[in-house]
Subunit: 121 residues, 2 copies
DNA sequence: GTAAGTACTATACTAGAGTATAGTGCTATA
DNA sequence: TATAGCACTATACTCTAGTATAGTACTTAC
């Protein structure tokens, strides 16, 4: 590989190679306005589409649908369809999805502290 | 406070009150395309504007300037102006900024693992 | 006096994330 | 037969993050 190419892709520096891409991967999974609210809602139990819609203020059906699809593609959320009258669909965090708990915990802790710090000025 | 108001602002559920806002606060600090690259560059040492510009591929001056201002406002980065010929400006992570290391570590670890998992399907 | 180096700022544009609003397909009850 | 409830999808719009490109202010060396 040419050095130019490496520079282009930001992998010429060891630290970039080892940290930057992974962090951006993780942030992409959590990206957008609604993923965190959805994840937090689902961490506390199985929910149906309409439950989530009620529980998350202001989210539109379109966004809820799209974000759930994203989370499902990343294997964080499982979608189960029941063949009942008005079809019901349940969303659950997968076992793998639970692995986000640690990350979210770290973010929550830092965020709490940061808000205190910034507010007091 | 009215229950309606609480529902509107998503703080009627205990879990929202305790986790959602802090996590979003933290993510906002790291938000955007360029903050992580800048932070990672600065974690490895003091850098000048032009250093960062060279080290972070494709970032425009405008974005670099804006993101550095954001990071400075959040007290993560310190800006020092030296009264030299062509004025030089140095950017450093503050002591407080170093506190992000843990969060970034957690994100990097999860991101690495996630990439493996998603790729192998 | 003009060219060059540093650290920006200004203006205009583009693309993608998010919003608003309405409509679909299914069926069981009234 | 019509209405209601669920889980979406379609279309069109808006708004903001990011890009592209150019220009500024300062000063020193040639």
């Amino acid at each position: 590989m040419k050095d130019d190419w490496k520079r282009e892709h930001g992998i010429n520096k060891p630290q970039c190679q080892s940290k930057m891409l992974p962090v951006q991967d993780a942030l992409e999974v959590l990206s957008g306005k609604w993923k965190i609210p959805i994840i937090i809602a689902l961490i506390h139990g199985v929910k149906r589409f309409s439950d989530l819609s009620k529980e998350i203020p202001k989210i539109t059906d379109r966004m809820l649908s799209k974000e759930l699809r994203d989370l499902e593609m990343n294997q964080l959320v499982k979608r189960t369809v029941y063949d009942t009258f008005p079809v019901t669909v349940e969303y659950t965090m997968t076992e793998y999805g639970q692995s986000l708990k640690g990350v979210i915990e770290a973010l929550a802790e830092w965020g709490t502290n940061h808000r205190k710090r910034i507010m007091q000025d």
